[in-house]
Amino acid sequence: MPTAVKTELDARLSGFREVQRLAYECAEAVAAQLKPGVTEREAARMQREWLRERGVRDWFHLPFAWFGDRTAFVNFRIPLQFFPTNRRLEAGMPFILDMAPVYKGFTADIGYSGCLGLNPVHNRLLADLEVHRELILREVREQRPLREIYEDVDRLMVRQGYANRHRAYPFGVIAHKVDQVKERRWSPNVFGFGTQSLKGLASDALHGHRDGWSPLWSPYKFSDHPPRPGLWAVEPHLGFRGTGAKFEEILVVTDSKDPEQSAFWLDDDLPHVRRWAEEKAA
């Protein structure tokens, strides 16, 4: 790779890395403040305010918060059910904070799973997510069609005894592309999604449609193509009888011939990765 291109790439990546770290910091800060009785709406507002105070003005999507069996999307039928409700947090309940801020023109999309107190089921789910992170990276590097990787993730979840909950997301996606977003004075939201980011996704979809690829990584035919270079926000989501857990972070895919360089996680210093490392050390 020519040096100029590499530096340019590095600069862009560090922009994304910065906002992803900011988002995870926000998640950890908000998670630390959660206590019994807090509602999902309050948790979502806490995330919004925390990020606003630090200069976030636009969103890929506004922060979500899910508590209890809503982390496993139990009985979710329509997309409106994703939005925060007045469900209150209780001791032992799992929760997921999910946010996608845009900062200095860079987008992040993260998911943070936690639990108020002890919950062995939740611990197990979080631990079992590690193999999914490894599997996804390995198969992306092998340039397998996205649909196939999706199916492999699905099979792994079934083998582990879980239900695939990202199937409940719009289009059943496990990942979607993220990109830089132009900063505008006025950036309205539609149903919780930033219009600027949606514009980017829509234009990707349009171009992709012509070239035979899609910015959405789904179980459907339109995802039957090898991984496209770019940044993918990957979010495998496990569900097990009323308990759900996920992580979401950015996977960088390039057109490099070197497998190591062709795909890598944007950042390896994230709460869930640190957690796995600590568990291994212990």
Binding site: P120, V121, R124, V158, R159, G161, A163, R241
Partner: protein, 584 residues
């Protein structure tokens, strides 16, 4: 009673016959018998409890070998019975509170013991079966009389009808004559026939005398207490309530408001008739042991954490599931685990079975084990049954779920194919029913067998001749077995799920096509089943419900239910559908 140490306790001019078993150093359990019984009613339960506890039984005054008060009238009031209990407890466990277990009138008395002031600190826990507190009963009647809704009036009339014997016992002299005459002679046979109480050393020869004296239990207490129930009858100890669902004398509804009176209440239900100490000693001993252990250590019982539906019914029971590494089997294991059952997960796939057992423990199963066995291998199944019986106990619920798929026209299906699918789908079930069912009948304490058939059992199809044949056989086997085992309290259910999203499609064999075509069809059918997306969890729920309600044939998905109806009313339409080519 064999091995029992007997002693006599004197109280208020009465000599009570007290028997003790087990190590006196261990926590003391006092078992109180009902009407018309003597302490012998507990003999089966007592020997089981004696392995862990210091077990104490006594004949209530006027019963068995204890002496009767004179005169009888006024000699059986709850106050006097409480005096007796305290005298026994002071004699057998002077410095430690005892755990109390009561059946029938034993439980009625014991409710008095645990709700009056003077016994505070002398009782550690109370397990009640088939005997309500007369005070609670009085309030129950009052609340239904003062605010009658159709349902509440129904409950009142229902219990009123079940209490016929109470009115009879209030007539003077006649009951005594009956008991000392023909009724006393016939009673053992009546118990054997109606209640399925196994014959043996019970009832004892003192029965006519006991029953005649015991009539005063009713006459001295019932009217007084029901008319003016105590307002402060709150239990001061943790209570475990065991309700036999087939009790001819007490309705389950009696205990609806019990949480108000007993703050620390654990509910259990048992599909059995009134005399559970005789017919279900293993189950009772297990629940009593668990409850006492929990209250002895001060930590709540582990499976009290089980929150799933039917936790009262399956808590602590042993459930064996074949084909438990995936799909319906795994979901069923999880559903039982959530209800607090102990799980044996059996599958050819060792890793999958281990995973099922592992996750089961996380969600409420007090214990779970994985076993690697091919259900079509008779010897392996025999070995498994021996091991399970020796190490974990006799299976309470058996789920014969393992099965494989086979598609392809009759003439494409080779003899080998036929053999294989028959071996797993039919012989697997036969082995399971025969080997584990035999253990169940030999124990003679009830149980349940669930066989996973399929909607294909009654829906013919030109695409699945071999598979449908095996499943139809499983369905018929289940129905025949159900008839055979009905008399022994063992239920048999056949489950017919329909199109459920499991991996049976991706492992199914497609006869008559080459390997790539087979792969393609597996993928296609898996995709179709995925689109249908009926979750195995719902089948698991149906299985638990089938066991609780003892249902015979349970079609699960709407299409399975539809086909079941059509097979009865419009079989010709089903035959027409059978000719269609499946979209593969």
């Amino acid at each position: 009673m064999e091995g029992a140490r007997e002693r006599w306790v004197r109280t208020g001019g009465i000599e009570l016959c007290v028997a003790e078993l087990g190590d006196p150093e261990q926590p003391t359990v006092v078992l109180v018998h009902g009407y018309p019984d003597s302490k012998e009613v507990w003999s089966e339960v007592a020997v089981r409890l004696a392995e862990r506890f210091h077990v104490v039984l006594y004949d209530v005054r006027g019963h068995g070998r204890s002496t009767a008060p004179a005169p009888l009238r006024g000699g059986f009031t709850l106050e006097k019975l409480t005096d007796d209990f305290l005298a026994v407890v002071d004699a057998v466990s002077p410095d430690r509170p005892v755990h109390l277990v009561g059946h029938d009138w034993g439980s009625v008395q014991a409710w008095e013991f645990v709700t009056v002031k003077r016994t505070e600190g002398r009782i550690a826990s109370f397990t009640s079966m088939s005997g309500p507190s007369l005070d609670h009963f009085g309030h129950w009647i009052k609340s239904r009389m003062t605010r009658p809704t159709p349902r509440r009036v129904g409950q009142l009339l229902g219990q009123g009808a079940k209490s016929w014997y109470v009115y009879m016992l209030h007539t003077p002299v006649l009951p005594e004559l009956a008991w000392r005459g023909p009724l006393g002679k016939r009673w053992p046979r009546i118990l054997e026939r109606v209640e399925k109480v196994p014959s043996g050393d019970y009832p004892t020869s003192s029965l006519p005398q006991d029953a005649a004296h015991g009539a005063w239990l009713y006459r001295d207490n019932i009217r007084a207490r029901l008319r003016r129930p105590r307002a402060d009858a709150y239990a001061h100890v943790p209570v475990q309530l065991i309700t036999p669902t087939g009790d001819a004398f007490l309705s389950e509804r009696l205990y609806d408001d019990l949480e108000l009176w007993a703050p620390q209440l654990v509910r259990r239900t048992l599909p059995a008739k009134h005399w559970v100490p005789r017919t279900r000693p293993d189950r009772l001993a297990a629940w009593i042991t668990e409850f006492i252990t929990a209250n002895e250590d001060g930590v709540p019982a582990k499976d009290a954490a089980a929150t799933g539906p039917y936790a009262d019914r399956f808590g602590g029971q042993l459930v064996l599931i074949t084909g438990a590494a995936s799909g319906i089997g795994r979901a069923t294991a999880f559903a039982f685990a959530e209800a607090g059952a102990r799980i044996v997960a059996v599958d050819r796939d060792a890793e999958g079975a281990a995973r099922t057992a592992d996750m089961s423990r996380l969600i409420g199963a007090p214990e779970a084990w994985a076993e690697t066995v091919d259900v079509s291998d008779e010897q392996a199944m025999e070995k498994l049954a021996e091991k399970v019986a020796a190490e974990y106990g006799i299976v309470d619920v058996l789920v014969n779920n393992a099965g494989i798929g086979l598609s392809g026209s009759f003439f494409d299906t080779t003899t080998e194919d036929w053999k294989k699918v028959l071996d797993v789908n039919l012989w697997g079930v036969i082995h399971g029913c025969r080997i584990f069912g035999k253990q169940m009948t030999e124990r003679g304490q009830g149980g349940h067998i669930v066989n996973t058939a399929s909607a294909a059992a009654y829906q013919p199809s030109k695409a699945l001749p071999a598979y449908s044949t095996t499943k139809a056989a499983v369905l018929m086997l289940s129905e025949c077995l159900r008839a055979e085992l009905a008399g022994q309290g063992i239920g048999v259910s056949a489950i017919c799920p329909g199109f459920v999203n499991t991996n049976i499609t991706s492992t199914a064999r497609f006869a008559g096509v080459d390997e790539t075509e087979e792969k393609r069809r597996q993928k296609k059918s898996a995709r179709l089943y995925g689109l249908r997306n009926y979750p195995p969890e719902k089948v698991a729920t149906a299985i638990l419900r089938a066991v609780v309600k003892n249902q015979a044939v349970v079609p699960v998905t709407p299409e399975a239910r539809g086909a079941h109806l059509m097979s009865r009313f419009t079989p010709r339409t089903l035959r027409a559908i059978a000719r269609l080519e499946p979209p593969l």
